[in-house]
Amino acid sequence: GQQVMQIPQYQHVQEGEDFTTYCNSSTTLSNIQWYKQRPGGHPVFLIQLVKSGEVKKQKRLTFQFGEAKKNSSLHITATQTTDVGTYFCADRGSTLGRLYFGRGTQLTVWP
């Protein structure tokens, strides 16, 4: 089946440092959705990228979709303790009604 590889699995940063998580695929991605799951919480939709080379921003978060639509990244500038959680990318794929989730990146921010 389709696989979306997400790295790193864990990231520990000092508050104020930047953070990036990457999603890669050997096949062309349909579209990419990003979700955030706070500790003890549930995944919450952040954004969707559809077009090749697309870049979207939400305050300190920057989302990119690669030109070949085989990779995507989420970059957080100047992390805050409220950024703690697990970030998932997910590809819509070709199977109706299914999202292919990456394994997630668990972000810890030290104050």
């Binding site: 579209n31 959705q33 799951q37 919480g41 549930h42 995944p43 919450v44 939709f45 969707q48 559809v50 697990t86 998932f88 819509r92 199977t95 109706l96 009604g97 299914r98 999202l99 989730f101 394994r103 997630g104 668990q106």
Partner: protein, 114 residues
């Protein structure tokens, strides 16, 4: 006015028991899902339903039986619980099968098997 609500939030039970988890969404969505999240946070889809019809059954043991009485509800019954069933189970919903709409998740049911 929770959008996707699932009950119970916590479920602690013994191996071999049968248990059910209920899910309801008030978003008017026509597609609902069950996911299993293990201790390493991996989100694995189990089932999806569209307008009460089973769309995805992701090689889940037949001890797990979903039921969708209407498009706003998707329940999960588990027979003969095993230690490996311990996980967080999330219900989710979205509008449409082929659309690009996001999935909305419930708060999760934390299942612990003793």
């Amino acid at each position: 006015d929770t959008a996707v609500s699932q009950t119970p939030k916590y479920l602690v039970t013994q191996m071999g028991n049968d248990k059910s988890i209920k899910c309801e969404q008030n978003l008017g969505h026509d597609t609902m899902y069950w996911y299993k999240q293990d201790s390493k946070k991996f989100l694995k889809i189990m089932f999806s339903y569209n307008n009460k019809e089973l769309i995805i059954n992701e090689t889940v043991p037949n001890r797990f039986s979903p039921k969708s009485p209407d498009k706003a509800h998707l329940n999960l019954h588990i027979n003969s619980l095993e230690l490996g069933d311990s996980a967080v189970y999330f219900c989710a919903s979205s509008q449409g099968l082929g659309s690009n709409q996001p999935q909305h998740f419930g708060d999760g049911t934390r299942l612990s098997i003793l």
